[in-house]
Symmetry: D2
Subunit: 494 residues, 4 copies
Amino acid sequence: MDPRYVNPEIAKEFSKERKVERWLDTELAKIRAEANLLRIPESIFAQIDGTLRSVEIDIDLWLEIEGKVKHDLAAFVKERSGRLLVQLQPYFHAGLTSYDTEEPAFASMLKASISVFKGYLKPLVETIKDMAIRYRYTVMNGRTHGQEAKLQSFGKRCLTWLVQLGVGMDLLEKAEENLKFSKLSGALGNYGGVDPDVEKETLDILGFQPFYGATQIMPRELYLLPAMAICQITLTIQKIALDIRLGARSGRPIYQEPFGTGQMGSSVMPHKKNTVLCEKLEGMGRLAKGYLMTILDNIITWEERSIEQSSVERVAWPDLFHVGVHAARTITTVLRGLKVYPDNMLAEINSSCGCYAADEAKEFLRHEGASHGLSVEDVYGLIQLAAFNALAPDEVARTLRQNPVTSFAEAEKAFEQFSHPKTRIPISIRVIIADSMLVTSDELEATAETVVRWNQVLREIFKDPKNLEEWHRIFTPSHLLRNEKTLYKEILGC
Amino acid sequence: MDPRYVNPEIAKEFSKERKVERWLDTELAKIRAEANLLRIPESIFAQIDGTLRSVEIDIDLWLEIEGKVKHDLAAFVKERSGRLLVQLQPYFHAGLTSYDTEEPAFASMLKASISVFKGYLKPLVETIKDMAIRYRYTVMNGRTHGQEAKLQSFGKRCLTWLVQLGVGMDLLEKAEENLKFSKLSGALGNYGGVDPDVEKETLDILGFQPFYGATQIMPRELYLLPAMAICQITLTIQKIALDIRLGARSGRPIYQEPFGTGQMGSSVMPHKKNTVLCEKLEGMGRLAKGYLMTILDNIITWEERSIEQSSVERVAWPDLFHVGVHAARTITTVLRGLKVYPDNMLAEINSSCGCYAADEAKEFLRHEGASHGLSVEDVYGLIQLAAFNALAPDEVARTLRQNPVTSFAEAEKAFEQFSHPKTRIPISIRVIIADSMLVTSDELEATAETVVRWNQVLREIFKDPKNLEEWHRIFTPSHLLRNEKTLYKEILGC
Amino acid sequence: MDPRYVNPEIAKEFSKERKVERWLDTELAKIRAEANLLRIPESIFAQIDGTLRSVEIDIDLWLEIEGKVKHDLAAFVKERSGRLLVQLQPYFHAGLTSYDTEEPAFASMLKASISVFKGYLKPLVETIKDMAIRYRYTVMNGRTHGQEAKLQSFGKRCLTWLVQLGVGMDLLEKAEENLKFSKLSGALGNYGGVDPDVEKETLDILGFQPFYGATQIMPRELYLLPAMAICQITLTIQKIALDIRLGARSGRPIYQEPFGTGQMGSSVMPHKKNTVLCEKLEGMGRLAKGYLMTILDNIITWEERSIEQSSVERVAWPDLFHVGVHAARTITTVLRGLKVYPDNMLAEINSSCGCYAADEAKEFLRHEGASHGLSVEDVYGLIQLAAFNALAPDEVARTLRQNPVTSFAEAEKAFEQFSHPKTRIPISIRVIIADSMLVTSDELEATAETVVRWNQVLREIFKDPKNLEEWHRIFTPSHLLRNEKTLYKEILGC
Amino acid sequence: MDPRYVNPEIAKEFSKERKVERWLDTELAKIRAEANLLRIPESIFAQIDGTLRSVEIDIDLWLEIEGKVKHDLAAFVKERSGRLLVQLQPYFHAGLTSYDTEEPAFASMLKASISVFKGYLKPLVETIKDMAIRYRYTVMNGRTHGQEAKLQSFGKRCLTWLVQLGVGMDLLEKAEENLKFSKLSGALGNYGGVDPDVEKETLDILGFQPFYGATQIMPRELYLLPAMAICQITLTIQKIALDIRLGARSGRPIYQEPFGTGQMGSSVMPHKKNTVLCEKLEGMGRLAKGYLMTILDNIITWEERSIEQSSVERVAWPDLFHVGVHAARTITTVLRGLKVYPDNMLAEINSSCGCYAADEAKEFLRHEGASHGLSVEDVYGLIQLAAFNALAPDEVARTLRQNPVTSFAEAEKAFEQFSHPKTRIPISIRVIIADSMLVTSDELEATAETVVRWNQVLREIFKDPKNLEEWHRIFTPSHLLRNEKTLYKEILGC
């Protein structure tokens, strides 16, 4: 893992120092258990524990032995038992297979790392909650298919991020259930050398329950869910980052990543505010998927076990955690420092010419128009036409669209033209319809006669001041967002 | 999906007929809900329901409309509302966005398909349980790293398969929790056109709870867990199949796939009993992983949604279910008809020369040898030497190993030699040690003096008839498998 | 594969009818080869060929036999040899293993399918070339990190798409090289039953060369490259589709997907022009990746072969081709009908306030400013400040950004405010700098004194009319795009 | 990457020291190019080159600046240009965008790493070639579906490994073609700040050709092939390792991994020789696939680029190379030290009772039996019956198969029975058929009458001594392997 994505807490949990500590915990718990169950004298445990807790493991010696015997756990056993009086040695690692020692340590490592990860998710969740509350009344265009759809508050978008994360966090809780189990059931999992009662007592001391039906190892099926939960959360973070990137596209950004006063945008383009953090989060998502796939294959092993999974687990697990934590920290930084531009949100809504309430307009006209002979299809066509009228290009634009320029000379002429734009005030469909200003469009099927008829009906409807008042009301945020309170209540309880 | 892997029940759940039925269910539940909440007169619902339940959807007409409007749900709405009296039309699909209709239908489809899948897992589980009981006392070599390790019963191996499957089936249960939720909260998920109470009532009728915080669609995070559960179960099945394949390798197979009397082994090799079903299950695992990866990407979408996920879901979901069901059915067939050869299991144990109890032998000698000056390391070396003595090649073999033949003439000579083998009776380490028959090995470090010393100690130990009796006891199945009863009790309760 | 993504030509190549035809081709070529090499009389071949070419395969009978013998190729051999006179039967499929027949057929199927795929890539390439030429002088903002960067022509963007596709198409060519080989070397690939000369002659007739070193099957390593080439091309298409989606975001779209006059945008939002085709292409990319992963695993098989790859190949190969072809066809439709808005491209450039030439401005000032004491860092800071000045929010906006509204009442007030915007004419950095109008910004570090100094230097520089002329020149398209001609020449040769 | 899988040469190529060296190479080549093309005075280049080549980059300072400007390349430019006289500074990194500097460095890094990788493939190839020659006449059972099929030499199996690797190595060659290209074409790839001639000259100095049609970056399509080639080779190595594992299964291993005299097999099972290296190679394959998937996603970027790919490339590329190199080194160690047991290969053949020549036997009887009225189907059935006769279980075994033991007491009895096996001499189908000893089998359909008839025909056939001689000939290695010479000639030229 590149140092810039390494989290020191995760690195510590996966360090070799921590590993041998955990191995020792298992070995001593096993002897403690035997003493508890009166299989061996309490004093034996006391002596072994006393010695091994007081003499730290000599990491270099351990690695040296490993170099010779090619077996890291066996080397550890040699290093440790070498510290003991000869008569105590047979009690150390007695009857155990390597994975009896390793499995509880492995599950502990995952549990501790998940705990670290959750520590980074908490501030993320808090940050999003704060945003949801802060921007509860900040109106924006919701977008589907990248297109301006209807109005919502920015706070509500934050709520959707929150619950998406929540699905992953629930999964993480479920995944932790799988880590409650471990085993000390010997080389085949049928208690050849260890007694089931000793297993139970040992695991109890270590905070686990026995998993009945292990082979030499725990079934790797159990560890898929933790991997998936971390991957899923990373992908949800990627999705949030994607939404930031989309809103930060220049032109009229509705928000932007935090940007330090000393930060350089680009060596050649000093004006740029690139969404580099959010883009990196897409990279994190890609990496997380790769690690998940890798861990998925670990289910496949031979009979009572073969050791394909070991090298994968040495690499993919720490790296998956690093990626997950880095993603969580980065998105928290981005969201905490996010520059939000409610002005641009409003400007965007304004230039969309009232289409944000097309749905409500349609329902209104379906209801009011029925008695004037407007069919359901008339209404759909009428609204569509109003929208196309509102957003229709002017003559200059139409010409350019049909005949792209064919030389730099022409290009420069057009360029000049657009440098001093006649700012055409956009007209909303609210006005077009209320003032019966519909005209035909060559992009749509409605004929001139139809349009005349539609305008006539509209005039009649809006003669009634009550209709006009209602009409204007349906274009207001307080109407359009009226039900968001349900979301706040159900999700945040406020 | 190739027809040979298609399951008709799954195919039905994913058929277009079933889809539009489910869409209609949603639409009618919505109107029913409005009537229940007194938003519209009961009679409106009654009329719409009456009409649409009595006139079946014209699939051809629907597809024809879709061809024009390029939108399958919109085409469905046209087809259906065209059946209604004009005054009833505004009540149909009123205020809904397409995915308000589609999401409950989608979740229903997944639920129903999971139910089909579970129907095929049940006989698989029963089959494995039966095997576990049938072969509770059938002794075999457990294998780790493909090597004969210690003894276990074949029943116990079945138990480990059972609990591995169990992990996946628990996951499937959890996954179903995610399918309890759905939404009818409009184009952005903020109830622009639908009332939260109507959503709740509608979903209640359909058997769902509202998911608060949806966008236009349900977050795809929810559907990852079902996909993973199916994939995981398929991989566990692949792992079981792998164990069958490994045991069925010719030479001295311990079990074989069922083989019909009319079945052809191979066009050129009539004697062969290929594990073709189990091999196919590896293919199923590969496919399942591909579909999972594909569905994983569906978390990523733009803002309040874009429609990347749709084409993926049309393809990957049914195919993943087909693959999962086919895997479950195939492994059930294999296990039900599995030909088990306890004789070969025993022959295999016998030719391993007692090494299956090397662990117990080691513990015995650690205990008894201590007073005769055997260190822990002595014991390890002694056992290892006994094993190497027992399994040492004879002279002819040694020569061949060192000097491979260099011509067909030599090859044929060696070939002939091995056609009439002098059957050497293998000697067990049980005998070698009890009779102090150790000799040096050039593969190990022990010197001639050491070996002399070891033999001497052994003679002393086994002078004592109690030791000899105990020694023979530790090589018996009843001793070695004594703790398997815990597994039967904890897993099967028997 | 969902019928809507099925390509009939691909489906035909993968049909069972085509399969048995190809099997027959192999069988007859083998007999033809033996006759050519005088191993059997010419008349034998003539009789077999005559019979089997004249009696079509009875597909139902074949499938019925397969149901019994559980082996599709063996069933085919039975069906076919059953048509022959008894004395001719021994010559049919003599000495062959199933995969001797299947491998040439499989490679043929892939070759033919690639040919179909290439048929759909050709019009795509032509379409992009046409666009590159049509929009050679249509100026737009290039975007990096989603931000407006510098100017380019839209034609140049098309060129980059073209060469990206080209990388994949080169790969496809290389992949076809791998399909030149096949095998008829018997059950283990060591010519147990077939003579190497007969293999060579047979393959020659079928258009292949022998692959020396096959096992029972061709190594699956050979088929990874074709799969990857198709996947890569699909991903490139996804990337092009992504660029379309990004440019089509509403507000001021620079292009949009074609949209039929009868097409419905959205059931609730009639004004919308959703990029549904391009979004679907992201789905195609996801599927393609899944199939590639699946095929990748096929390298792994046991010893001289086991049959895991077969089920995967029945499913993943046709589906990968369907996805690839569907992607190619869809993007061609999108690009051919693409609605391009040069007016919006220009409007976008205009509202970016001249920042598109920030790089050139920087180089100009580095050069001209040096003698006036402007350091390299001064210049960077100066340009950045000009950009921040140009794009600075007005007072209303600043207030809103700092204090988001906290009620619907306030929201509505702000909403109203933005419905009648005082259209502020944006000032370009071109003007700010030339007219020395820099002011301090609280987002940047430059002090008031620094800004005074900068303005002073700028006044001096632009006193010189030659400087002013040069200054304006560097903001023109003909200057900024002057080197694109190299790209046209190198890529299109024009 | 876990330290145990890190290759120091790869680590060096990916180190930050090497990175900045390569960046500097690009920057200086650019200035050299400008001098060569007379755009700047030669002396400018000489001074800059002189200064920067003599003052090493201060890595700490560079990282410190990066911490502030959040841009590693920009920080590098600051560090480097800070070393130059003020008047030389504008010539450094002039007109370049970051990726103009980074892309050639990136391609160089990949090229150098591939070169390291190839260095480890060479001894692997040599080792396999040596094995192929050494074991050219060492006869073994080829296996398909894990079943003993026909005879081959072990040398021939090595040849198939060799050509499988060869496919990947060819791919690697093709992949290197993609690395011949790079770019210095500015922020959008349209030469905004750099002249095409300068690009060409610079790249020429660095050993590259321009890639026309880059955006700000090289299209990531180009780097997929190298990644796939490395992944494919790793998977081929995994496949070879799998074959080793399968042959090393205990019982009667045909080969085993090298095993040091001091190595420990297992802490509890001293006799074991685990295939831990080969199993680790399956882990390497899993990791490689994950990295490939990750890199595959890098094709997707926004418009003229966004920076998702960067974090992925920092992680996945070095780790993929480490994995590939580690795999190559490990399999070389395994194969070099492989312990091969020709004796067990022969013993295995012998106990397969002549079935290895079933195919040839069938052809012989088809030919000789025709005149005695044996049909093609008769022959197939006869051979199959002979095989089933040869391999039929004895009475004790049959009983055990039908009635598994139901208590430890029974288990122990059976156990005892098999500890002193009556060694039944296996009879070959060669003998059964030549001596017309066929008997009915309840696993097959042939009736007693049929069997009588078959035996009768056999008696007649083998009355003829020529037939008998030919019959025995077809069971010999020299006959069965006669065509392997073609493989040696075509693949090794010997």
